[in-house]
Symmetry: C2
Subunit: 463 residues, 2 copies
Amino acid sequence: MFKKEVYIQRREALKKSLKSGIVLLLGNGEAAVNYAGNDYAFRQDSTFIYYLGLDTPDLAYVLDIDNNKEYLFGDELTMDDIIWMGNLPSLKDRAAEVGISTVLPSADLKKIVGTGLAPAHYLKPYRYRNLLILSELFNCKTEEIVHNYSVELTKAVIKMRLIKSAEEIRELEDAGAIGYAMHLTAMNMCHKGVSEREIAGMIEGLALAHGSRSSFATILSMNGQTLHNHDHSGILHAGRLMLCDAGAENLNHYASDFTRTTAVDGDYSQKQTEIYNIVLKALNDSIALAKPGITYKSVHRNAYKIIFEGLRDLGLMRGETEAALDAGAPALFMPHGLGHAMGLDVHDMEDLGETLVGYDDEITRDTLFGYKSLRFGKRLEPGHVLTVEPGIYFVPQLIEKWEKEKINTEFINFSALKNYLDFGGIRLEDDIIITDKGCRPVYGKRLPVTPEEVKFANTNGTV
Amino acid sequence: MFKKEVYIQRREALKKSLKSGIVLLLGNGEAAVNYAGNDYAFRQDSTFIYYLGLDTPDLAYVLDIDNNKEYLFGDELTMDDIIWMGNLPSLKDRAAEVGISTVLPSADLKKIVGTGLAPAHYLKPYRYRNLLILSELFNCKTEEIVHNYSVELTKAVIKMRLIKSAEEIRELEDAGAIGYAMHLTAMNMCHKGVSEREIAGMIEGLALAHGSRSSFATILSMNGQTLHNHDHSGILHAGRLMLCDAGAENLNHYASDFTRTTAVDGDYSQKQTEIYNIVLKALNDSIALAKPGITYKSVHRNAYKIIFEGLRDLGLMRGETEAALDAGAPALFMPHGLGHAMGLDVHDMEDLGETLVGYDDEITRDTLFGYKSLRFGKRLEPGHVLTVEPGIYFVPQLIEKWEKEKINTEFINFSALKNYLDFGGIRLEDDIIITDKGCRPVYGKRLPVTPEEVKFANTNGTV
């Protein structure tokens, strides 16, 4: 948690950016695993953390702009609670630590919101609990709640949260340090006969041991070409590549997100090395390009250019570069975006709307396959924190589909691809902060990234 | 997953135990952490697992008893899904593996339930998602949904799930083996200067590495007297006891649940050893008592007896045993129940209602403090799986309250307790299966449990 002034200033800034009305921010509640009381580890809503810093369930915040008042809603511990939970600071004291003097019981929320000036600004809920609370509070159907969220409030929150302050960057560095340890462990465990689940479990244990949790469900698989892959049932065997995409949420809930692709026992074949080095060049060139004033959309296109030219050199693609990029041909090999904003969420503010976060009036989202999956296309500004994560995958089902439907045949050598159908996939991902003149890694120490560095980490552990 | 016949037989038995109507079992959906798509690890509903075995989100099952038909509702993967998720077996094929031949799209659920004979039997929902689905399906308010669940169906499910079959016991043994490894690791890491969070994270990593997850939020703390304690912020220091209550959910979702209390660096003081040995005697005597025909309520009372007499020997309690037990005096030191049923849930079927699971017409729940917290009081039967978890805690807030309100002063030596206010708490917990003649441990190897065994494990690791 930051100093009181941080939260006060954030709420002041929010107030100034909205004209009138009532702002309602709902915190999260507990979420049951298999019965009420056996709950998933509590995660506060990120926007609630950003403006209030309070990390316990069942809170709500109301900012009454017209009357210049603010309220925190929540219930104090009872004597019984204290017996079972120990002496904890009161909600009133905790509220004071973030600059809020008025704390009311949860049951009063309806009274205050009901007497306020309509319309109430609220954010689109992503948990069924909050959807239900809003539906009951405003006495309307859940579909109406989803539909009537405040775009004005959403945009105001995005504008503030997108630019990371110095204290936020320290938290992101901390999350980076945990992610670094997770990936070094994974590289070091990547040996023949070890199960994917064991490695995934151990690195998720590290996230729990040093932070709050993994910032997202770990992807750790010999089948890196399956992009939405959370299966960990494989046993590593020689000749395969282990793609590991994982990160930590630190104790103050900031994220890290790295990907490395380690050859089992560190032995990259010639063929693997060739593809690996194209991805590595796409990563390094993207980082070199990223600076204020450049759009991330153009950095994504440049990554496609490197992938296209690299694969053309290997005889897997063909034709003229700009035409191939215009046609979206490299998307066959990298059907996802180059990266996304990161902060309190690993896909920062994705609950508020991917397009509102990543695009604006100037830079709009593309509709072409591959390009359209880029989450963040905006012109870069100092304080943006982004992932850079190019990849090359050989997805048999997608290759088959394109060949059958004759998509981009002028740019793709389908017959040469027959030798790559069991290749898998390679992705490399670093996290960067846009600075005044360019960008820098979020965490100072870069994970081993060249095949030689990875081999060394695989054999010797920490490097 | 078990063989097809297991699921068919279970559903047949359920059908026979209900007279008529439609049974609706809802599977679980994904649960968002901080935005839709960044989800907590999926956990299927336990009753759904029990009757259907299918472990993916967004399924529903309908048994139409009157027409002797059954339906699975869920959506097949699209071509797009296959590209991102790989070639997975179709829902139709997976349904066939559990003996179901009719699979319909999710959207058809309303049609079938709508045309069926009322009343539909459904279980009380514990997730907001399922509450909303039921509310929309039956077109009624959420309070009505919670109120109108089927007690008949609930009792039928409890009756079946409470008696564990041979194949279920093998799964519970497997979960026990993972829990065993978790606790040995915790014992071995219990040294001065190590953080509680690091130990908790590492053992939760083991649960992820070898099973599905921890079966509940790990309790690991020097403040064992705080019973609802999920804080892991302490750094172990000499002279303290580390209470660790943790278990695993194995890959097929069966639970284990053990508690051990390790002195930091394995050094139990004289005072700690005295209390420890009372708890150990309560544990061992409870296990020796548990057999078919005995009520668990009486085993709980016997544990109170051992605690009372042990503390009387130490001069902390006084008076006549039966009178002290009738008055609930030992509840000051063990304000919780001796144990609970365990199976697919660590508190088995707690979503279906604690009292319906743990009590019946013959054995009813007590109302006295301490006794009333016993989750399971029923007469024991072969196939019951239970935890046995006595403890002695010195809860300053509770001691203060009783002394101030003059509760059970004739049985408690409050002045002697002044020397124990910083003691903390000790709990020891094993898992047992009721057999034909008595009981046996769920997992064959018992965790180190005497102070000497724990000291050895602390110093030498595996024993």
